[in-house]
């Protein structure tokens, strides 16, 4: 439990740090593009919305930075992230709400799949070291060096060349209206397939390599030798002794690697015009939609923190030593 509390405190701290970074970045912008934009919109914008943007970007230069910070935190606590310039007059939160599920599903599913595949392959390759499987290593190294988005480009062109059998753009057919019916879900899965495959192919190598190295290291441990000496079945030795322990660093690395995975996924969304957070973010950057950029950064950071927390819980369940009392 102590481990748990400690980690929780750390996440609270990190969340606070992210919020604070978010607070300061716009205040470091030289010149005043935001107030110019706000001024440009004055005609269509309500005074409430102006107020919230003022707080968000520190446009009110008369207040002390500390007061601005307090106001900012208070506004955040209401879930007010301002309005999106690019999607005017939608508030940032509703833009996020429509984009977030797509990304969460895409990243969630692909990350879990690639982690599972990579780890399983890593177990096999690490265990059967010295066999023909070692030949996989250069291939995976190369694969994991390819930028996600470039693989996406290749996937798109291959599909275009080979004939149109998978949709290469968007999250669903433009004709459909998002709803919970089979037709829409099927269509969405079909659209998600190519981006998902791209992400899995590009990220599986990393998991494979790290798991393989851990397997090789753990295989030399005494307790694995003892497991063999005990006459346990090969399966039990691999799964119960070697892989079980080799998994620990992978799980603790899982959370930390998420930050990188998220970055890569954003670009994949961009390549496939997938209607998730990544696409929104890049569009927001192109349109200088500062409130949206900020909101996205905040939400993404918090999501990564949450995922990290889950990984920590998994670690806690896997390693009894962290449960040590006293």
């Amino acid at each position: 439990m102590r481990f748990f509390l400690r980690r929780f405190a750390f996440y609270v701290f990190t969340a606070w740090a992210a919020i604070t970074i978010n607070f300061f970045i716009p205040r470091l912008i030289p010149g005043d593009p935001v107030s110019a934009l706000v001024a440009g919109m004055r005609g269509q914008i309500t005074s409430d919305q102006i107020q919230s943007l003022t707080v968000l970007f520190g446009l009110d230069k008369h207040e002390s930075v500390w007061m601005q910070y307090v106001d900012y935190l208070e506004q955040l606590s209401h879930g007010d992230l301002g309005i999106s310039f690019g999607n005017f007059p939608l508030p940032v939160t509703s833009v996020l709400a429509s984009a977030l599920p797509w990304t969460l599903l895409l990243i969630g599913v692909t990350t879990i799949i690639s982690f599972a595949i990579g780890t399983l392959l890593g177990i096999v390759v690490g265990w059967r070291r010295g066999s023909w499987l070692d030949g996989l290593l250069p291939v995976t190294t190369f694969l994991s060096s390819i930028p996600y988005f470039w693989l996406g480009l290749i996937a798109v062109s291959v599909v275009t060349y080979a004939g149109y059998f998978l949709p290469i753009s968007g999250g669903y057919d433009p004709g459909l209206v998002p709803s919970w019916n089979l037709e829409f879900i099927g269509n969405a899965i079909e659209h998600g397939l190519l981006p998902a495959i791209t992400i899995v192919v590009a990220s599986v190598g990393g998991w494979l390599l790290s798991m393989r190295n851990m397997m090789v290291t753990v295989t030399a441990e005494d307790y694995v030798t003892v497991a063999h000496a005990k006459g346990l079945s090969e399966r039990r030795v691999v799964m119960g002794y070697a892989a079980r322990n080799a998994l620990l660093p992978s799980v603790s690395g899982f959370g930390m690697a998420l930050g990188l995975v998220v970055g890569g996924t954003f670009l994949v969304e961009y390549v496939f015009s997938y209607p998730g957070i990544g696409l929104q973010m890049l569009q927001a950057i192109a349109r200088h939609d500062y409130p949206l950029i900020q909101g996205i950064f905040l939400v993404v950071t918090l999501a990564v923190l949450a995922a990290n927390f889950l990984a920590d819980i998994a670690y806690l369940a896997l390693d009894p030593r962290t449960r040590k009392e006293g």
Partner: protein, 350 residues
Amino acid sequence: MSMSKPLTMKPSRSIAADAVLDIRGLCVDYGVDDNAVRAVRDVSLTLRRGEVLGLAGESGSGKSTLAYGLARLLPPPGVISAGEVIYSPPDGEPVDVLTLAPLALRAFRWAETSIVFQGAMNSLNPVHKVSTQLIDVIAAHSPGMSRRAMLDRARELLTMVGIAPDRLHAYPHQLSGGMRQRVMIGMALALEPKIVIMDEPTTALDVVMQRQILRQIVELRERFGFSVLFITHDLSLLVEFSDRIAIMYGGRIVEEAPAALLYRDALHPYSHGLLHSFPALRGPRRELAGIPGSPPDLQAMPSGCSFHPRCPRRFDPCAVDIPVLGSPADRVREARTVACWLHPAGGAID
């Protein structure tokens, strides 16, 4: 102590009637190419029923390699390059462990020969409870058993080695070093094997704990009648604890004799030096010298007898020819062998 074993000569090449494990001409290499190092060289050794055979040697002498090798547990790049390891069950045909197929080998392991490794710290998997690790071995060898019966058996094993059965569900990190080693000993006896190989089981513990555990091993051996191959660098411990002692140097056995005989009258200068490397706790305080020089490098073994560069009594043949392990001509009546030109074998060993 079972020092009263009949001191009859045993022909060392045919299987002795009371031999439970017969190692013949075992060679172990690390690596297979030109850089391969031979760590165990043509070792023949017999473990008799119910005895404690001590195997003493310094680091790099090949004693652990021998133990891992005969159980075929050497990590790559270890390769067994020659020899036989004949196991004779009390009822049934002798088998060569080295020719067993993986499935048969797995069934043989632990049920017939169990091993207690040097570091109990690392021998237990830190992420599994003691109970899981005990049950694993029972389940692997008696699949029909109910979980309840297995738990009972596990509890019984812990009690046997002097650990409260309520520690069954403890994780290894919750136990002290001594307790972990006891768990390992209990686990080694789970299937009542005929042979227990112990590789420096007490080295990491302090002397008080070492004594307690040794005493326990002796008691358990008297109860169950298994044979022990006890490997250590501490010769003074072996003299007290084992029936016979084999001394290894540079991958070979250089002397083998009943413990008391070896202590009284070590023939090989290395054994002699080793015995005089331990200051005595009793008796007159003597000036001791140890053995000059350092143990040999396996990659650059001296020619002839590998001990000759450090030997105070070397003479002409030592640097040229390798002395063969055999019954010394000057001690024909004693059940011992030595590989030293000072005590050449008395004719061919039959």
